[in-house]
């Protein structure tokens, strides 16, 4: 089984290096094919490992020693257990699909080979992240995905907005990563090991305050990567990257790493339920907060990004309330339908010549029938209508909140579910129904390549069946590692009221969205100039606030450092040295009069000076030695 582990882990790396070989050359189809093929190999290996794990075996290998100094021993160890195999499956399935899709999507791009190199490198980093058996290996993967995310958001580096967004994402993540490092240091400082099994076995012996600190710091790290409030602004801006990147990284895999971290560290969070409650509260807040922003946004990809943010909030609610397996399950289901949604958006973008405003589209269901079906399916799944994936995973989180008697959270999540349905179908209605507004702009849409649609098909199937088919076997598998708790509402009456109520709310929201946007779009100026609309449209003014609070003072500080410190102290010193040398040269250049015999004399002077120095240093040294001896 170890061989499959290594294939699953290193096949993407090989693909990345292969593509990197051709990185600077123009498009060569072979790089895309090889990278996709290797990803598929990784997927097959992951599937074999899944079968192995489902039989109750865990694969744990120690590839080699990494750091061994003093008491610190950290190996390159990898573990495939119930949690990591779930993540591996999600990552390998989505990334294989995205790779194949990208062959079509990026086919006209100059950086085709470079793109595959980055994309496969990302998958490798993600695999390291989920498969590592210690916190430091996880951190390496964590930083690796951060780097690849930076590379991919800024893939079109000639666009200033893209580089800006890439840097924003990178810097925001650094802030959070610092906290995560502190958390890891605290673990090592107190327990002397970073191996999961050792740490989790001994975490109970620590004082509660220390455990709380570790939990908080690790969660701050997770907040950065999963774009939770207040570190959320980068995710929407990250949509500057190519759409397959958004599908793979900023919907399905990387942003869920934070959830994975919390799920993986569940023995820590089980000990500190207060922190868990805080996580859940923050998650519910983000779910609502992001959904409200998605309600009014006019950028197709940003809407989906906010929806991702909102769903991540759901996952954190589940994780915070101790329903780790539910969080992981929603992570998996969400990855499928959200990636599908993004890839569909990519098709629309291609057809619309990179137009992102859904108000300029409409009626696309005629020309893009398959994409329409896929995106509708994904939206239905996202809205959580029976029997699609979202119903099983998302409604389960609602039930968890209810059973744990956090009724406020439940209410918030319920309202958010309604909003989710509304903005999802607002998008679908605007894009695919109504008048063909794009004709005014002289755009004649066309469907994407057929193989791209075939590539998306597995995701569509999974979005439909994942919830229904996988829930029970998944629960049986994961409950061996994660706290097994079934969240049942014992009162049948309550249960049915809840389910029907939720479904009714969702369907009503969908119907309202269709009614409002499917026919003709009327711009209601009264609403749009209203306070709430403006507040939401400007993303609660948070980017502006950050700009005022952090960026501008920092700019001021930098200017002061530049004008006062750099120019007046550092530059002056450097210039002074240069001037000194220059003047020395000016005053001594008569020495170089080209007369060989005077040069010889100077040479002898130099020899004398060196000899004097030699004598002086020897005398000084001997004195020092004698003094020391005395």
């Amino acid at each position: 089984m170890e061989i499959y582990l290594y294939i699953a882990l290193f096949a993407p790396l090989v693909g990345s290096l292969f593509a990197a070989l051709f990185g600077a050359s123009p498009k060569t189809l072979i790089t895309g094919l090889v990278a996709s093929g290797l990803l598929f190999a990784s997927f097959v290996s992951s599937a074999l490992l899944l079968g192995h794990v489902m039989n109750g075996h865990i694969v744990h290998v120690e590839m080699m020693t990494w750091i061994a100094t003093g008491d610190l021993y950290i190996p390159f160890g990898f573990v495939v257990d119930q949690v990591s195999v779930t993540m591996m499956m999600v990552v390998s399935v989505v990334s294989t699909v995205v790779h194949v899709y990208s062959i079509g999507y990026m086919s006209h791009d100059k950086g085709f080979n470079r793109f595959f190199s980055y994309l496969s490198a990302f998958v490798f980093s993600m695999m390291v992240l989920v498969m590592s058996d210690n916190f430091l290996g996880l951190f390496i993967g964590w930083e690796g995905v951060g780097l690849c995310s930076w590379l991919l958001i800024g893939f079109w580096y000639h666009k200033e907005s893209a580089t800006w967004a890439a840097n924003e994402a990178f810097i925001m993540n650094r802030i959070a990563d610092l906290a995560m490092l502190i958390g890891i240091f605290m673990i090592y400082w107190n327990l002397g090991s970073l191996q999961y099994d050792v740490v989790f076995a001994h975490i109970g012996t620590l004082p509660l305050a220390v455990t709380t600190g570790i939990g908080i710091f690790l969660f701050i790290g997770a907040m950065g990567k999963s774009a939770q409030f207040p570190l959320h602004t980068w995710l929407a801006d990250a949509m500057e990257g190519p759409t397959p990147v958004s599908a793979l990284i900023h919907a399905a895999t990387m942003v869920t790493a934070g959830v994975y971290l919390v799920v993986r560290s569940n023995p820590i969070y089980t000990l500190i339920p207060e922190v868990g409650t805080a996580i859940a509260t923050l998650g519910a807040f983000v779910a609502m907060f992001a959904a409200t922003m998605a309600l009014v946004n006019r950028d197709m990809k940003r809407i989906i990004a906010y929806s991702t943010l909102s769903q991540l909030g759901y996952m954190f609610v589940a994780a915070g309330l101790g329903a780790y397996w539910v969080a992981l399950f929603h992570l998996m289901a969400h990855a499928f339908f959200k990636a599908l949604l993004f890839l569909g958006a990519g098709n629309v973008m291609h057809a619309m010549h990179d137009e992102l405003d859904p108000f300029k589209m409409g009626g696309l269901k005629k020309s893009m029938k398959v994409t329409w079906i896929f995106m509708t399916l994904a939206s239905v799944a996202l809205a959580g209508i029976y029997p699609l994936a979202g119903f099983f995973s998302k409604d389960l989180i609602l039930e968890v909140a209810f059973v744990e008697q956090h009724y406020v959270l439940y209410g918030v999540l319920l309202a958010t579910a309604g909003m989710t349905a509304f903005y999802s179908f607002r998008l679908v209605a605007l894009i695919f129904h109504g008048d063909e507004r794009h004709l005014e702009h002289g755009i004649h849409p066309h469907e994407a390549y057929t193989f791209m649609l075939y590539a998306m098909a597995p995701l569509a199937i999974l979005a439909v069946v994942a919830g229904m088919m996988f829930k029970t076997p998944y629960y049986l598998m994961v409950s061996e590692l994660l706290p097994a708790a079934q969240y049942h509402i014992h009162n049948h009456m309550t249960l049915w009221i809840m389910i029907i109520g939720t479904q009714a709310l969702v369907i009503a929201a969908i119907a309202y969205a269709y009614k409002k946007y499917a026919k003709a779009v009327k711009v209601d100026l009264k609403v749009e100039s209203g306070f709430f609309y403006q507040l939401l449209f400007n993303q609660y003014y948070i980017p502006k606030i950050y700009d005022e609070i952090f960026s501008k003072p920092y700019l001021q500080l930098s200017k002061i450092a530049w004008k006062q410190i750099d120019l007046k102290i550092v530059d002056a010193m450097v210039d002074g040295i240069a001037n000194l040398i220059y003047q020395t040269g000016e005053s001594t250049h008569t020495m170089q009069n080209g007369n060989l015999s005077s040069m010889l004399r100077w040479m002898v002077v130099g020899v004398v000076v060196l000899l004097v120095l030699a004598v002086a240093f020897t005398v000084a040294y001997n004195n020092a030695v004698n003094l020391h001896a005395m």
């Binding site: 250049h589 170089q592 009069n593 080209g594 007369n595 060989l596 015999s597 010889l600 004399r601 002898v604």
Partner: protein, 101 residues
């Protein structure tokens, strides 16, 4: 009266400084070459003396290689000097001002 290593080294130093004075004093390239030969030979005396008084062949080896270097230097140096003389008609050091900066 015993002759010690110091005697030889003093002699070596005296010869070295004679050579040094020659190097600084001479304007004629050929004479300058003579002075450099004196420098090399003075060092050779020191080497041989140290070899003798320390009972070690290393000094003699170095003297040996110094002689080889001196021979090569003369061959190449004289060749260059001949060319220079052919071109300019003199070998005066003060006339060689093509290196003026």
């Amino acid at each position: 009266m015993e002759i010690t290593l110091t005697h030889y080294l003093v002699l070596s130093t005296i010869l070295f400084s004679i050579g040094l004075v020659g190097v600084m004093r001479r304007k004629n390239m050929l004479m300058l070459f003579f002075a450099t030969e004196i420098l090399l030979n003075s060092v050779n005396i020191g080497m041989a003396a140290i070899s003798h008084y320390r009972g070690d062949y290393t000094g003699q080896m170095f003297a040996f290689f110094i002689i080889a270097i001196a021979a090569s230097e003369v061959a190449v140096g004289l060749g260059l000097l001949v060319i220079w003389y052919k071109r300019t008609g003199n070998i005066d050091l003060d006339q060689m001002t093509s290196m003026r900066g």
